[in-house]
Structures are given as structure tokens and as C-alpha cells.
């Protein structure tokens, strides 16, 4: 079971002080949060991707590569990578590069993005969102799995004799999750390819999550990747904890009441009942988290949102400390009664082992006319 955090990268005023951090502060805070996540023993740090204020999560690949250089062990991921408005050719290059730089500590989660105006900024149309997600991802897979790609589609310039570089590390592409809240087609896509499916889970009633995960598991089996129980499921989660549960509620309420997503809507009490948000003691967070299995089955990855709604960095780091304290209990809880058929989340190491060991898949270019390889020519010139 992988347990980690995911960040949206919002720059939000702290409602208790009225102070808004600068972009610079927030960007540096993100790095601190990721480093501390590793220090407290978490397995995954995932960043969102937004191309508009008030977010600092544009260029997620630079962020992940930088965090990769500052950490040793934690898996770097995305939540989500915009497969609709980002050229799949760039995604193929960028994440293969991060694989090499971090020795395989990267995977990614595909998402569509629901901010209409962002699409035309990248020459796209949100009404084609689903079709873009489907066609672009189909191309991305080929760019990672085939050395030379000839391709023609609806949304992008055709490719002739194209080789995406660098080739994936050890000949194994990064593992891919597909994230969607309410689009059955995305659960279908994840199932078709035998990829992972991630449900955001937070901000939504359990029924939404269950319906999507059930569909994904059913179709995963239908497409012959294994039994429904063997499908790869991830969930979001959201908490605020203090040793004293009433102190947690008192401290978090102003952040909740003014939060960008749900603020000025339902009460904290109604929302914690309706969604996975848990505000209380570490024990309450532990018990609530372990109850998610009751409606999605044994799953592989749990990511928490901890740095949003204007919470100051100090508070976020304290939340990570508290999460670190209950982490051994949480791991023990997830292991207890876990079906022996439920797999662990794929990692680079497990995917390499499955592929029969590492393969160097470096492509050495050959000149069409002379048949010379580029490096031979370089040797001749230097000789």
C-alpha cells in the first residue's frame, strides 16, 4: 500500500490573517512539503497542473525533477497531468527524462482539466476534452513502447519516423493512472489498457467514488487484465488533525468556511459526513481512512490533500508530522484482512521485473543515405 500526498498548488489567502503568500513562497513551500513527506515516511508526492492564477503548478516537470534531486526515495507523481492540452510528444519526453534522472521514481496520472478558457490558450477546445484524452493517450503509449512511430490523428501534426527520446528507463514506461471524478469513459479507458484508476474522492460523496471504481474493476476484468480484485485503484483523502479533536475543528473551521472549492456552502459538519474529509484526532483520521476499503475494496494508493485553502506552511508540516506518527498503524490497518489477491501498486522495479529485467533501449540514429550511425560520424570527425 502506497500512502502519500497530492498538492493542487493553490495560492490562497490565509483567512485567519488575510495574508496571501507570494508565488515564490508557495513554490518553495511545495518543495519543503515534498521533502518533509519523505522524511515522515510517505511513499508518494504528486503535484497538480494548472496554467492560470491562483495556482503555481504550471511546469510540473521542473518541480518534480527538482524535488527528485532533493529526495532519495519518494515516488514522484502528478495529480493530474493534462493529457488534453499538453502535447503527448512532450509528455513522452519529459517523463522519460525524469525517469532517468530519478532512477525510475516517477509515475503519472492523466486528467482532462475542467477550466474552459485554458483549452484555447493551448489551441484546443474543451468540448473535445474526452476525445483529446483518448487520442493523445493512445499516441503517448506508442511513443513509449515503439522506437519509431508513424502516426496520424485528428488533433496533432502527423509524425513520420519519429523517435521519442530518451527512451523509457530500462525499456519500461512510467506507470500511468487515469483520474476522473464522474466520467465513466475514463474508467473505461483505464480498464482497457490495464492502467491504474484514481478517484479524487475528496469533495464527493462515497457513492460517486464507489460507482466509478466498481465500473473500472468490472471492465478491467472484462478486458482480460486479471480479476476485478487485481485492478489498480487509488483514492484521494483530506484531513485536518490535532491531538485534541475539538482543537482540530476550531483551528480548521475558518479555512473550511473560506476554502476555494467548498467554502460558503455546506457546514463543516455536513461536509465531513458527506465526503471523506475528516477533521479531528489522529485516531479519527486513522479509522476513517481505513474505512474507505469498505466501498472500494482493497486498493493500492492513498493520497491526501494537506496543503490548500491557505493553510500556512508550518501547519502543513505539522499535519505531515501527525500523519507520520499514525503511518505505522495505518499500514498495519491496511494490511489486516487484505485479500491475498490484491496486488501492490506497480513501481519501476516491479514493472522491470515483470518485463524480464532491464533492457537498454537507447535508439542510435542511422543516416538514411549513408547508413552511418550518428556517433560513428562523430568519431570520424574527431579522428
Amino acid at each position: 500500500m502506497q500512502i502519500g500526498i497530492f498538492s493542487v498548488g493553490d495560492v490562497t489567502p490565509d483567512p485567519t490573517t488575510g495574508r496571501t503568500p507570494s508565488e515564490h513562497e508557495r513554490i518553495k513551500a511545495t518543495v519543503e512539503i515534498a521533502k518533509h513527506a519523505e522524511e515522515v515516511g510517505l511513499d508518494v508526492f504528486a503535484t497538480g497542473e494548472h496554467h492560470n492564477p491562483p495556482f503555481i503548478s504550471s511546469n510540473p516537470t521542473a518541480t518534480l525533477a527538482y524535488i527528485g534531486a532533493k529526495t532519495e526515495r519518494i515516488i514522484l507523481s502528478t495529480a493530474t497531468t493534462l493529457i488534453t492540452t499538453t502535447d503527448p510528444v512532450l509528455i513522452a519526453e519529459d517523463y522519460a527524462k525524469i525517469q532517468h534522472l530519478t532512477d525510475g521514481r516517477v509515475d503519472l496520472m492523466m486528467g482532462r482539466g475542467n477550466t474552459g478558457p485554458v483549452y484555447p490558450w493551448f489551441g484546443k477546445d474543451i468540448r473535445q476534452g474526452l476525445n483529446l484524452a483518448i487520442e493523445n493517450y493512445a499516441l503517448l503509449r506508442r511513443l513509449w513502447s515503439e522506437d519509431v512511430v508513424n502516426w496520424e490523428g485528428k488533433f496533432r501534426t502527423p509524425l513520420q519516423g519519429y523517435t521519442s527520446t530518451p527512451r523509457p528507463l530500462d525499456g519500461v514506461a512510467p506507470f500511468v493512472w487515469h483520474g476522473s471524478i464522474r466520467s465513466p469513459e475514463i474508467a473505461e479507458q483505464a480498464a482497457y489498457y490495464g492502467d491504474g484508476f484514481f478517484h479524487n474522492h475528496i469533495f464527493w460523496p462515497a457513492g460517486h467514488t464507489k460507482q466509478m471504481v466498481d465500473l473500472y474493476r468490472r471492465r478491467f476484468e472484462h478486458y482480460g487484465h486479471g480479476t476485478a480484485e487485481q485492478a489498480i485503484v487509488g483514492l484521494g483523502g483530506q484531513f485536518f488533525m490535532r491531538k485534541d479533536s475539538q482543537a482540530a475543528v476550531r483551528e480548521f473551521r475558518p479555512y473550511f468556511d473560506n476554502a476555494p472549492v467548498y467554502g460558503h456552502g455546506p457546514s463543516l459538519e455536513d461536509f465531513t459526513e458527506a465526503t471523506p474529509l475528516t477533521v479531528g484526532s489522529p485516531q479519527q483520521v486513522l479509522e476513517r481512512t481505513l474505512s474507505f476499503r469498505e466501498y472500494v475494496g482493497d486498493y493500492q494508493r492513498q493520497l491526501f490533500l494537506v496543503d490548500h485553502a491557505g493553510l500556512p506552511l508550518k501547519t502543513v508540516l505539522e499535519q505531515l508530522d501527525l500523519l507520520g506518527e499514525i503511518l505505522p498503524e495505518m499500514r498495519k490497518g491496511f494490511a489486516e484482512g487484505r485479500s491475498p489477491n490484491a496486488p501492490e501498486a506497480p513501481t519501476h522495479a516491479s514493472l522491470v521485473a515483470k518485463a524480464g529485467g532491464p533492457h537498454d533501449t537507447t535508439v542510435h540514429a542511422v543516416d538514411d543515405v549513408t547508413g552511418h550511425r550518428a556517433e560513428e560520424l562523430a568519431e570520424e570527425v574527431s579522428a
Binding site: E185, F203, L215, H264, G265, P266, A274
Partner: protein, 205 residues
Amino acid sequence: MTTRIVVVSAGLSNPSSTRLLADRLAAATTEALEEVELTQVELRDLAHELTDHLLTGFPAPALAAAIAAVREADGLVVVTPVFSASYSGLFKTFFDVLEAGTLDGKPVLVAATAGTARHSLVLDHALRPLFAYLRAIVVPTGVFAATDDFGDTGLQQRIEQAAGELAALAGKVQSTGAARARRTVEDEFSEPTPFEQLLRNASGR
């Protein structure tokens, strides 16, 4: 065969003239059908949950139940007070949060109340376009009641005329199994479009 009729009423006072008109329409529709399962949706009781839905994107339990009843209804009676020359904001909000396709092909009786008969065209200039957009089938007779109509026998005639039209359509819809032109999210969950088809759709082939 039981016909499921849902009455959506957006009156604010208690009792409201909107509620009174809704009750009379419900009674007349029940009278015109053999077996009726009648569900009343009083939007005033759902006002907080409707606002929360706008902000959170999902319905709390009571609103979810009302939406489900509307989705499964064979026919609807919808009644709004006239506010600022149109249906009320509360009324509109309920139809704003329905998922696309919910009202496709569904027979709807539109009705409104106001202080004066000068607002009577609100049925044809506001409610009919709204339900046309939602691809519902609006029955030919709409029922408008100004305050003084409640003392007039003509109102009851119009109520019975409209209820009869709704009953005829709602019964028919049930026997033919309602034409649902658009696939809804619910359809995708119960019978997903195979991915090969989605791939072909994506590239327009």
C-alpha cells in the same frame, strides 16, 4: 400500471398560492389517471441543499432523492411563482442542477402564480423555452393563476384540461418506454460504451 407523477413546487410562503395550485393540479392529474404514484417536491425545503449543490457539485440526500424521483417520473407538474417577469431563481436552480438528458422526452405541465394576470405570458415566454431547451414535452395547456383566479371557475376548467393532457401523455410514455435520445451518465455506468468505440469516436472515424 402505475404512473409516476412528480409535482415540483417553488412557492416560498407557507401555505403559498403556488402550493395551492400545485395541489389542485396534482389532484386533477390523479383523477385523470388510473393508478398514480404521486411525489411532491417542495423546493423551499431544498433551498439550502440547492445552494450547496451549486457550490459543491453534488446533491445532499434529500435533494438527491428529489432528483431521482424527477428522473424516474413518467410526468411532471412544475409550478413557480412569477418573480421579476420570470420563474423564480429557486425554481430555475432546481432545473439547473439536473444532469443533461434528465428531462428528455418527459411530459411536463407548466404552471405559474402571480399577483396579477399581467404576468400570464410568463408561461409561454419563460417556462416553455426552458423546458424546450431541456427537451421535455410541454403539454399544450399551461395553467396560470393570478390571485383573483382562485375565486373563478375558469381556473378549475384549465386545471382539468391541462391535467388531462398530461395524463394522456404520461400514460403513453409509460407504455412505449420513454424515448431517451441522449445517453446519460447513468447509461454509461450500466452499459459502458466499449473503448474501441470511444477510440473511433475520438479520431472521428
